[in-house]
């Protein structure tokens, strides 16, 4: 066991990659301390809103709007934020940030044990060499220091542990994985898969590859289709740190977890060129403590990890720890979101009454632009989601009708609706940045980030094509009364924020090497979205997990060999 405040490894953050780092480092023999800035969450017991009907909630699911406007005006724009999940989102008042006035930025955070792994949409997609070679091919930013062959075994490793339901398609741009049977689809989705594949042979709609179990897996139960996953899942049907990786780490007897522990900065020892520990502020008592370890894994979420390195500047690294390249805090990315189409599908079978199951996923249409030919006005591509659903009583608000007629009509679901959404790649730009704003501090006195991130010409051209594709595909699906959505794309709102400490081969132009290891400080690893050299268009969590597991294996090897 660890002695006092000294451990073999410290992991900062307990979200989707912090959990993986804890599991891998513990299982590989290291005494490991996980530091989580938020409060503890007990798997199952803390999911107090799970399976609760609307009337159980004080505000019937609408949220305590007057409080939300003060405490969570930004967090409440997050994808799965609602009255039932508000407690798993950070407090904006205590955790402010700033941005250039003309460059709005949305930063969604989950400050609790398990982090945003409780809130994610559970979509799991591999990258291919189309993505890993993209920067090299286009002459943009720097080349990735890894290729698909480097990460493929780690995708296998992660998928086998977390359980990913999906269907193999044999597509080069979206490699197949270790899949459990796919989640069942509904008649509208079956219809769309059929007509879209006939009309667009290069656009293959497939059941979303989802970290939701369709059969018992490592002691976790299959999904019982109860409803909104963001409330927490006490049977562990969806993957989270709490359902899977932290228990695995715990089982080794080598894990220590300290919640309400805000890492203020990393302590650097210039004589040995090592990160030797961390300064922690207790979120409740505000007492300061130091912990030390042989190896540090920063898994605080992309932008928090970058912020921590920036705030760890000292006399040796004046512009931020491990930042001799000056790259730290640059090339911030997110996925473009907000382009979509919805419409009514007639002629599909309707059963009376409410359905009693809930499908916690969508269909996915993998990237089809700039895959085999490069004939578009923009570089890179986008992935689409589509789903079929039937609207409940809510449709009565906007429809004509009153009295007994209205009431009787709303006893049944409305017609099938099709929904299409597109998620586009964003290029890495040197001047899409975050820096520390030393004139604004959070509730614990730590300087906050200042963002200057905006989309450019390539993104605008891609958005126009995303909108055109949504329109032509929903028409091909046979939808009527189509509504097109083109929301302003505020960077950050996809909650796929990434970059800021990119991987690369050259220490002069990148922060991390091919193993998420800081070029400048060999026992310091950044394992989360901060490492990304380009953004791809796939939901990124699976790649973060695979990179983290791979980085841990490398770190332990180097530690054993006495090289760090």
């Amino acid at each position: 066991m660890a002695n006092g405040n000294v451990y073999d490894a410290i992991v900062i953050g307990s979200g989707i990659t912090g959990g993986w780092a804890a599991k891998e480092l513990c299982e590989r023999g290291l005494t490991t301390l996980v530091l989580e800035k938020g409060p503890p969450v007990v798997h199952g017991e803390s999911y107090t809103t799970e399976h609760k009907p609307d009337y159980w909630f004080a505000f019937r699911g609408m949220g305590d709007r007057q409080r939300v406007m003060i405490d969570q005006p930004i967090q409440s724009t997050g994808g799965s934020y609602n009255e039932a999940s508000a407690h798993f989102y950070a407090n904006d008042r205590l955790n402010p940030y700033t941005h250039d006035p003309d460059k709005p930025f949305t930063w969604i955070r989950g400050h609790q044990l398990g982090g945003k792994s409780l809130l994610w949409y559970r979509q799991c997609y591999r990258w291919s060499d189309l993505d890993f070679t993209a920067n090299l091919t286009d002459g943009i930013a720097v080349d990735w220091p890894i290729r698909y062959a480097d990460i493929a075994p780690w995708y296998d490793y992660v998928e086998k542990f977390i359980g990913v339901s999906g269907r193999a398609e044999g597509l080069p741009q979206l490699p197949d994985g270790q899949f459990l049977p796919p989640l069942p689809t509904n008649v509208a989705e079956d219809h769309m898969m059929k007509v879209l594949s006939e009309r667009f042979p290069d656009r293959r709609a497939t059941p979303g590859r989802t970290a939701v179990l369709t059969q018992t897996h490592h002691g976790r139960s299959p999904c019982h289709m109860c409803g909104p996953c963001e409330r927490g899942c006490s049977v562990g049907a969806y993957f989270s740190s709490l359902s899977s990786t932290l228990p695995a780490a715990q089982a080794t007897g080598r894990l220590s977890v300290r919640t309400n522990s805000i890492v203020h900065s990393i302590i650097y020892d210039p004589t040995r060129n090592r990160a030797c520990g961390v300064r922690v502020v207790d979120a409740v008592t505000r007492r300061s403590t130091e912990y030390s370890a042989k190896v540090l894994f920063v898994c605080a979420s992309a932008l928090e990890s970058v912020r921590l390195l920036l705030n760890s500047a000292d006399s040796h690294f004046k512009d931020g720890l491990a930042n001799s390249s000056g790259i730290l805090g640059t090339h911030i990315m997110d996925h473009q979101w907000g382009i979509g189409a919805s419409g009514e599908l007639s002629g599909l079978p309707l059963a009376d009454g409410y359905p009693s199951g809930f499908r916690p996923s969508v269909l996915i249409i993998p990237r089809f632009r700039n895959v085999t030919t490069r004939n578009q006005t923009f570089t890179r591509g986008y992935q689409m989601e589509c789903s079929g659903s039937r609207v409940g009583w809510q449709r009565g608000i906007a429809e004509l009708g009153l009295g007994a007629d209205l009431k009787n009509r709303l006893k049944n679901l409305g017609p099938w609706q099709a929904q299409f959404d597109a998620n586009g790649e964003c290029l890495p730009y040197a001047d899409n940045t975050m820096r520390l704003n030393k004139s604004v501090v959070d509730a614990w006195g730590i300087p906050v980030p200042h963002f200057a991130v905006t989309y450019r010409e390539n993104e605008a051209k891609m958005r126009a094509d995303m909108a055109a594709s949504c329109a032509e595909m929903i028409e091909a699906a046979g939808a009527k009364n189509v509504t097109l959505t083109t929301e302003t794309a505020i960077p950050g709102i996809s909650i796929h924020e990434m970059g800021g400490a990119r991987m690369g081969r050259d220490p002069h132009t990148s922060v991390l090497n091919a193993y998420n290891q800081a070029h400048d400080v060999p026992n310091l690893f950044l394992a989360d979205g901060a490492c990304m050299t380009s953004s791809g268009n796939q939901n990124p969590s699976l790649t973060y997990m695979a990179l983290t597991a791979r980085a841990c294996a490398h770190a332990v090897e180097q530690l054993r060999d006495g090289r760090i």
């Binding site: 009337y55 699911g61 199951g357 906007a398 009295g403 007994a404 929904q419």
Partner: protein, 191 residues
């Protein structure tokens, strides 16, 4: 996704943006008298007695008792009062009350009789043109929405999110969580 309930972002937007016309106004935040912060608990005192009677008549006409319980059994009038006090901004609350008084006045001018004194059939007949206007206003994204659009929305939300309303529709909260239904948790049905 099998139901809009599955997309909480859309659900939240649907419920809040419709009502405030998409415009969030900073509230004058009053916590001095900390009442029970729970909609439908009749903790508020927003209406005068005639206003309360009128709101009850409107709710009862929009969602009357049929083979299932109606809006009044679900205390939708209390829900509306509490929502105006605990959830809406002062601006929205004033707009609602002004709209309510104007509605009462218009009814008297048109029919020479208060709305509450009308027969059920006459109430419906009086509301039908207002309902058409409300639907049109939503389509055109008029801001602020007409009074009747707001009270219809509040009545539907108040009813279908109440225990009475959830049971009436055979469905409570997230799909598949209605206690006591045969096997809803392990026999998913999507059509």
């Amino acid at each position: 996704m099998s139901d809009p309930e599955s997309n909480p972002r859309r659900r939240m937007l649907e419920r809040s943006a419709l009502m405030v016309g998409g415009l969030l106004v900073a509230p004058a935040f009053v916590t001095a008298k900390e009442k029970q912060r729970r909609l439908g608990a009749n903790a508020s005192n927003v209406f005068t007695s005639p206003q309360k009677e009128l709101v009850r008549s409107l709710c009862d006409t929009i969602l009357p008792e049929t083979d299932t319980a109606g809006a009044l059994t679900a205390h939708v009038d209390d829900f509306i009062s509490d929502t105006l006090e605990l959830w809406c901004t002062p601006l929205e609350r004033r707009a609602f009350l002004t709209g309510l008084d104007a509605f009462a006045q218009n009814c008297k001018s048109a029919l020479d009789k208060g709305f509450t004194g009308l027969s059920a059939a006459d109430r419906l007949a009086f509301l039908e043109p207002l309902d058409r206007d409300a639907v049109e206003a939503r389509k055109k994204r008029v801001d602020p929405l007409p009074f009747f659009a707001t009270i219809k929305e509040l009545t539907l939300i108040g009813y279908y999110t109440s225990e009475v309303g959830c049971n009436a529709i055979g469905y409570a909260g997230p799909i598949g969580t209605l206690p006591g239904r045969d096997g809803p948790l392990n026999t998913p049905v999507w059509i």
